[in-house]
């Protein structure tokens, strides 16, 4: 057993963990990173396609290139990185936290730290989450697992596939499977509109003449040992039109049906979970309900662009540093999401600095407005050109735009969307 003392332990060496750690080290606090995989980078390592970094680096990078820009900062510093290491538990102490981790190389590791950053990312929703009827043969994969098999292990999940879900991961996998020689028969989407970016519809489906069935569901999986085919049924007004069901022969089904923050460790540590995001509830400094434990990236809420993950995690690193320097003992006020929004993060704000919010729309519109109200009185509006549930909205409330005289202890800020 080895004991390591640091100011901060960052759990997860993906885009969130690396950005938070870099920021904390920049502020001269000692940091260690624990990463389950053999290398830093997290999910970016399997996202070998390009399109990352347009906001953050003003150029188009592939996932591994984006990850490496951060990994180089980490490696150039004196930070300790424990790869191939899994955290099992966070224990609260009177002063700080004890974190237990295990690795083949070091055996059991015990970290004694003042603060912890949760940056474990998310997991994929699977067949059980969407309740697809039929037999239970081999050949049903989540899209991210298939992506890892193809891009990192060099394995083929199957030769004739159908993809469920038209989010960007599903679309990117349609192209990847075509490029590795599989026959992609169709993409099936339950919503009446595609969930992914238009450019991905063009370059991942249209380029390969892959049909996209909108307002359709997979109504049955056939096959005993291996998938042999699936039934697809159209929806009309949300109801399955069973007489129009058709069959597609295939040996593989890839599911791209959403992501859930990976919060097993957070739950065990007694952290309160936000029911809308499935991530921890956080205050304006991205600190969870347990003092000294912070969260950022996809473990907090699922982002659509890694650029936003980095942005949020740098901010989180700065908040952790403030906490260590005892700068965060300021009054916080309540922040809630109003009409047409699924959630807003964080759920508190401060009056003595700018506040950055991320939110997700419940509606698809071409012109909409964000409306900000403080205790029922309108504070401001922001025009948005296009909104849809799959595209995160970010908004910054400037300190100077907040009327501090109007704030009392029970003040509530509400943000909503009008279409």
């Amino acid at each position: 057993m080895k004991t390591i003392e640091k100011d901060v332990l960052v759990i997860g060496g993906g885009s969130a963990g690396m950005a938070a750690a870099a920021e904390i080290r920049e502020r001269n606090h000692s940091v260690a990173i624990v990463e389950r995989d053999n290398i830093l980078g997290g999910i970016l390592n399997q996202c070998i396609h390009n399109g990352f970094g347009l906001h953050r680096f003003k150029e188009e990078l592939t996932g591994p290139e984006y990850a490496e820009r951060y990994a180089e900062i980490i490696e150039a510093s004196d930070m300790e990185v424990f790869t191939g290491t899994t955290v099992t538990e966070i224990e609260k102490r009177d002063e700080g936290k004890t974190v237990y981790a295990y690795s083949a190389r070091h055996g059991m590791l015990v970290f004694q730290v003042k603060a912890v950053v949760l940056a474990m990312g998310c997991r994929e929703r699977n067949r059980g989450n969407i309740g697809t009827p039929g037999t239970r043969p081999a050949g049903v994969y989540t899209a991210g697992l298939a992506q890892r098999l193809v891009n990192m292990e060099g394995l083929m999940p199957g030769s004739k596939c159908v993809i469920v879900g038209s989010g960007d991961i599903g679309l990117i996998m349609a192209r990847r499977m075509s490029w590795v020689g599989a026959d992609v028969k169709a993409v099936v989407e339950i919503q009446p509109y595609p969930a992914g970016l238009t450019r991905n519809i063009v370059q991942c489906l249209n380029d390969f003449n892959i049909p996209l069935h909108l307002s359709h569901v997979v109504s049955k999986i056939h096959g005993k040992d291996r998938v042999e085919g699936i039934d697809i049924t159209p929806l009309r007004d949300g109801i399955e039109v069973t007489e129009e069901t058709f069959h597609i022969e295939c040996d593989t089904l890839l599911l791209s049906v959403g992501l859930i923050p990976d919060n097993e460790i957070a739950r065990k540590a007694g952290i309160d979970i936000n029911r809308e995001t499935n991530g921890p509830l956080v205050d304006s400094s991205l600190m969870t309900s347990v003092e000294g434990i912070f969260a950022c990236g996809n473990v907090l809420h699922v982002h659509d662009l890694v650029d936003y993950v980095s942005e949020e995690s740098h901010r989180c690193g700065a908040f952790v540093s403030d906490y260590l320097e005892h700068q965060s003992e300021t009054k916080q006020f309540k922040m809630v999401s109003g009409s047409n929004l699924k959630y807003v993060i964080p759920n508190q704000f401060r009056a003595d600095r700018d506040n950055h919010f991320y939110m997700r729309s419940l509606i698809v519109r071409n012109h909409a407005e964000l409306v900000l109200t403080l205790d029922g009185k309108e504070l401001g509006r922001k025009k948005l050109r296009h909104i849809q549930p799959s595209e995160m909205i970010s908004f910054t409330l400037k300190e100077k735009d907040l009327d501090k005289a109007a704030l009392d202890d029970n003040s509530t800020l509400e943000i909503s969307l009008v279409g």
């Binding site: 347009l54 990192m152 060099g154």
Partner: protein, 118 residues
Amino acid sequence: MTKELICISCPIGCHLEVTQKGDEITVRNNKCSRGEIYGKEELLAPKRVVTATCPVKSDLMLRIPVKTTEAIPVELINRLLEELYKREVSAPVRRGDIILENFMDSGIDVVSTKTLSG
């Protein structure tokens, strides 16, 4: 002849209107200059950036990710992929190292997108 195309140069995805009159091609509805270039190229000779992985000899990884330095003509993509899947790379490799040079005289290289020390 007028064709409607969706620009893939960035995530905005402008709906372009590309018109060809004799030798002259005009692009409308583009929000930036990249849209004009994309519209013209897509009409005459479509190109795509290709990313893939090659087998690599290393203790850390089984495959090394690679990309074309520029978009390549779509008719070359299948031949390029075939070539890349066969090509075994050995570590050390640095990000940006050339894996395949001037593919079929296109002037386009394939480079590694990851650094692998050992």
